[in-house]
């Protein structure tokens, strides 16, 4: 792991300004994190992908991928369209079963990750295409992020037994905090389906964050956003990591965002991992330049809409 | 049917809808008709209600009503659906001078039993309906006139016995009953078993799932069973398909005997040549040679007031059933008028008329219906009236009567009916009448 500790020392990227709240929270977060980098390295990775291969009817999507994500780390995965990035996330979340290899969540190995238990394993994700529950309000969408913690039965909910009512209040309060954090107060009571794209993306982040996951998987969270929206979202992501100590796997086409935000960057090409290191290392890697960076500028167009 | 008539009933209906009740118009007896001229059973509905209306028209035009009391009616379309029938009932029941209800639908009839009993208006279910309503002690207002399903079963078995050369010849024979997969179809299962035990023939009863447009497997079973006769207790599209499929498996069509719901032109025409030679039970012969039908042709259709759009259907099975039904209703009113006076009668008074509806062969002939139907003898206990049945054979173009009038074995069936009626009375907490003297509500 040559890059890991080196990365820790790297100052915050200058790319995006942060607002006051975020700065405050970041200060707390970085403080905790920066104190003992060696402790982090000693711990098990939050996510370990071990020799994962996946093919669809003869077409290789992933070939012998290995990837570790350490606590508190923002780890980007980049690559041209069709390189296998989304397939990788789908393997990690159990939507696909790999043909070979294992995925470890917090040290527990899975040949096929049980999607239904993902949230209880402390994993949350967003999707490339919008995956909000369009018929629910913004607040309700975010409350849904706590689904895995619901204990009350539907009868309890209908008849409003105290435990169910308490649970509902607790979850609403937690969602309320996220709403404030993501500056969604204005739209909290509106139906998600009718909101602008950028806001929906933010709501989706909120839904993933509300459970304070150990590992957050973001699949092209910036796709189709304006520059301002991207900056804003970058700030949110970083703050989230800093506040909750969440490890983040980020799939993103915008190289500027990736390089500024990530601690480490893995590069996929035709299902193989061709590089994994600090942004600087990756940017200097000849294989990456050949395979990917040369075409980077036209990848971003309409990527994930 | 005049425009004014319609307008009037519309006005009445809307008046009732907003909560007014018009006073009874003088000297009119009203028939609310839950007809069905659309939907899967429209052919039967247009024929039956056409015949009924034609007869009412005949009475109005020829006789100026029943002893001067005009007959009126209005129709509500039900499409043979129970809830539409109920809606029509609720809509039309407050019209003045309701004589009787004639839904020609088992489902609608059932939904109405409670209602008409409460409203004290007779419910006529000619040739169909609830078998145990034959017991007038428990069902004072329900009249399954001429033929209930049990009598039909007995009549069919008696006919087959006749063909074989006597009831003793039934012994050791095999009869398959092919029945429609519905409560209607299943109703006679125990009666066939009973008769099989009594006469010593073997009966196999095979169900055809609704709607019955596929009967390959059933007929292959029949082919394997090699029965002497097949009884078709069908309904709608099931009948022609049965005849077609019988032909396909090589079963002789003249050994198939249809029940009362498998006996119309609509049941055989679609089967084409496969139906030639098919025999079916009926309570009323078809054809237009009977005087009363001729009078309808002359008087009603001659005046351009005929109800059937297609004049070729005059004298068809359903049309003649409608006419017979008209005769029975009108005569019940006439008989009741004899007791209560020549005026608009209450439903309860008409009920009294039905309970004394006794038309012997002579009276039937006077009515111009000799040969059309045999006779009827309704009493307060017996609401069916011991109708005789006959059998008709389809020759590819029309039905021809091929048997005498046959009497079902009423005495054998009566105890079963009474038992069923008693169970109903117990379930509903009804105290059966013990004499004719039921309280008659008059105006």
């Amino acid at each position: 792991m040559p890059g890991a500790s080196a990365l820790r020392q790297r100052p915050d990227a200058v790319l995006t300004p942060r607002d006051a709240t975020a700065a405050l929270k970041a200060a707390i977060g970085t403080g905790v994190r920066a104190q003992d980098p060696s402790a982090s390295t000693a711990a098990t990775p939050v996510l370990a992908i071990e020799h994962v291969s996946l093919a669809f009817g003869g077409v290789t999507a992933l070939a012998d991928i290995n990837l570790d994500v350490w606590p508190g780390e923002i780890h980007a995965v980049i690559g041209p369209n069709g390189a296998g990035k989304s397939s990788l996330l789908n393997v990690v979340t159990g939507l696909y079963q790999p043909d070979r290899g294992r995925v470890r969540h917090g040290g527990r190995p899975f040949a096929h990750v049980p999607t239904a238990r993902l949230a209880r394993l402390g994993v949350a994700r967003t999707f490339q295409n919008l995956s909000l529950f369009k018929g629910l309000t913004v607040l309700d969408n975010i409350v849904m992020g706590l689904s895995a913690e619901v204990r009350s039965s539907f009868l309890g909910q209908i008849f409003g037994v105290p435990a169910a009512a308490r649970e509902e209040r607790r979850h609403r309060a937690a969602a309320g905090e996220i709403v404030e954090f993501l500056h969604l107060t204005e739209v909290a009571d509106r139906t998600a389906g009718g909101l602008p794209y950028g806001i929906q993306k933010r709501v989706e982040l909120g839904r993933a964050l509300v459970a304070k996951p150990k590992l957050l998987l973001l699949d092209e969270p910036m796709a189709g956003m304006t520059l301002t929206e991207k900056r804003e979202l970058t700030g949110f992501i970083r703050t989230a990591r800093d506040t909750y100590g969440t490890s983040i796997v980020l799939i993103e086409h915008d190289i500027g965002v990736v390089m500024g935000l990530s601690d480490r960057v893995a590069v996929l090409d035709y299902g193989r991992k061709i590089a994994d290191g600090t942004p600087d290392e990756v940017q200097a890697d000849q294989a990456v330049i050949d395979a990917y960076l040369g075409v980077a500028h036209d990848v971003d167009v309409g990527g994930g809409i | 049917m005049s425009y004014l008539k319609h307008l009037k009933s519309a006005v009445i209906a809307s008046a009732i809808a907003v909560g007014f009740a018009l006073p009874a118009a003088a000297d009119e007896q009203y028939f609310p008709l839950q007809s069905y001229r659309v939907g899967p059973y429209a052919a039967g509905g247009t024929g039956f209600f056409g015949g009924f209306i034609d007869y009412l028209n005949l009475i109005n035009i020829r006789d100026g009503g029943v002893n001067g009391v005009k007959l009126t009616w209005s129709e509500g379309e039900t499409q043979y659906e129970v809830e539409k029938g109920v809606e029509v009932y609720e809509r039309l029941k407050n019209n003045p001078g309701v004589a009787a209800w004639n839904p020609l639908s088992v489902g609608i009839a059932y939904a109405m039993i409670d209602r008409i009993t409460q409203d004290k208006v007779p419910l006529i279910t000619v040739n169909h309906g609830r078998t145990d309503s034959t017991d007038g002690r428990v069902f004072p207002y329900v009249f399954p006139l001429l033929l209930n399903p049990y009598s039909e079963t007995s009549g069919i078995v008696n006919y087959i016995a006749g063909k074989l050369g006597g009831q003793d010849k039934l012994k050791g024979k095999k009869i398959v009953v092919l029945y429609h997969g519905s409560p209607y179809g299943k109703e006679t299962i125990p009666i066939y078993k009973l008769l099989a035990d009594k006469y010593g023939f073997e009966v196999q009863q095979i169900e055809v799932p609704h709607p019955g447009n596929e009967q390959q497997s059933q007929w292959l079973e029949i082919r394997r069973a090699k029965p002497d006769y097949v009884v078709l207790r069908g309904w709608g599209v099931m009948n022609p398909v049965a005849l077609k499929t019988a032909q396909k498996v090589g079963y002789p069509v003249d050994h198939i005997v249809g029940n009362v719901w498998s006996n119309s032109e609509e049941d055989v025409i679609p089967a084409g040549d496969a139906a030639k030679g098919y025999v079916a039970i009926t309570t009323q012969a078809s054809g237009e040679q009977y005087p009363v039908v001729q009078e309808i042709v002359k008087t009603v259709y001659g005046a351009g007031k005929g109800n059937l759009e297609d004049k070729k259907r005059i004298g068809s099975v359903y049309h003649n059933l409608g006419i017979v039904n008209g005769i029975l209703n009108v005569e019940a009113i006439r008989i009741a008028q004899g007791k209560f006076g020549h005026r608009t009668l209450t439903g309860d008074e008409v009920r009294w008329g039905f309970e004394h509806l006794q038309l012997d062969a002579k009276r039937v002939e006077e009515l111009g219906a000799k040969g059309l139907f045999h006779s009827i003898n309704v009493t307060w206990k017996n609401h069916e009236g011991d109708g005789y049945v006959t059998f008709q054979q389809w020759d590819g173009a029309k039905w021809n009567v091929v048997s005498d009038w046959i009497a079902p074995d009423w005495a054998l069936l009566r105890p079963i009916i009474e038992k069923s009626a008693a169970a109903y009375a117990a379930e509903k907490g009804i105290k059966p009448r013990t004499s004719e003297e039921a309280p008659v509500t008059t105006n």
Binding site: - | V38, P40, P209, V237, E266, I269
Partner: protein, 296 residues
């Protein structure tokens, strides 16, 4: 002792009935493939076609004249449906379109009966329906004829879709509507053609079924026989409709004869559904479905 001859007879009878189901299912498949909608009006179209045909014949129009005229009517109907229903409802969810086809079935049934009356008609296609025996097994001539017609119809459609431009467009739309639109295919035209094709299928199925049942209102109920075929064979597979029909026909008859008696008979109505469902639970992709394709 097991009666093999009887078994064979039931089996063959079932397969031949099954072909008749396939014929109805085919109309569903054509429309589902291109517009993603379960066209519940298929039954009414069948009724309408048969009723129009038989009414023309009864009014003295010769067989092929009536056939051509009915064909013309079905083409008009197809175009009209595209104009008045599909086009305004483009981009609406499948369930909305489904309900629209239910509404359409009301309209077609109403128009059919208004035009031609509610009488039942016999329909004689001039095919002898007396059975002949092969080694003691009865086979219906009419059923063989129907099977031959159904077979040629499927063959004709397969050739049409494989070798004509319109067929290519059809397959493109079936594959991916969005992409087809993107490359400039005119969806309305494809839809109109497909509905017309479904109308033709309805006519042929209507005549064959009409000859069996008589031409009457209940004719529209034959769609209920086609639905389990669709579940089993896949809503979007022509081959599935054929094989599914054969399977359902055979299973239905065999289960009625051999399992039915244990339940008191009459299980045909739902046995086909249960078999189709059971099959899907084991193999969710259906007979001819592809891997990972969700049945949606």
């Amino acid at each position: 002792m097991f009666d093999y001859q009887f078994f064979l007879e039931v089996l063959i009878g079932g397969l031949l009935s099954g072909i008749m189901y396939s014929l109805v299912a085919l109309g569903f498949v054509l429309i589902y493939k291109t517009s993603g909608v379960l066209n519940f009006a298929q039954g009414s179209m069948l009724l309408f076609a048969a009723l129009t045909f038989v009414s023309l014949v009864e009014r003295g129009v010769p067989f092929w004249g009536a056939f051509a005229a009915t064909l013309g009517v079905m083409v008009l109907l197809g175009v009209a449906v595209e104009r008045t229903i599909l086009r305004p409802l483009v981009n609406q969810p499948p369930i909305t379109l489904f309900m629209a086809t239910l509404g359409l079935s009301y309209v077609i049934e109403g128009v059919a009966q208004l035009l031609w009356g509610t009488q039942v008609h016999g329909l004689d296609l001039g095919i002898e329906d007396s059975p002949f025996e092969v080694y003691g097994v009865l086979i219906s001539q009419f059923d063989l004829f129907a099977a031959a017609v159904a077979g040629s119809l499927v063959a004709a459609f397969s050739l049409f879709f494989r070798y004509t431009r319109i067929g290519l467009a059809f397959r493109a739309v079936a594959d991916d509507q969005y992409a087809a639109l993107a490359v400039g295919l005119r969806l309305p035209r494809v839809w109109a053609i497909v509905w017309t094709a479904a109308g033709v299928v309805a006519l042929v199925a209507g005549l064959l079924w009409g000859a069996r049942l008589g031409v009457q209102f209940s004719l529209s109920l034959v769609v209920l026989k086609a639905l389990p075929v669709l579940v089993l064979g896949g809503f979007d597979s022509i081959a599935g409709a054929i094989v599914g029909g054969l399977l359902i026909g055979a299973i239905e008859k065999l289960s009625e004869v051999y399992i039915g008696p244990y339940f008191g008979g009459g299980i045909e109505g739902w046995a086909a559904y249960v078999v189709a469902l059971g099959f899907l639970l084991i193999r969710p992709a259906g007979l001819f479905g592809q891997k990972l394709v969700e049945r949606a």
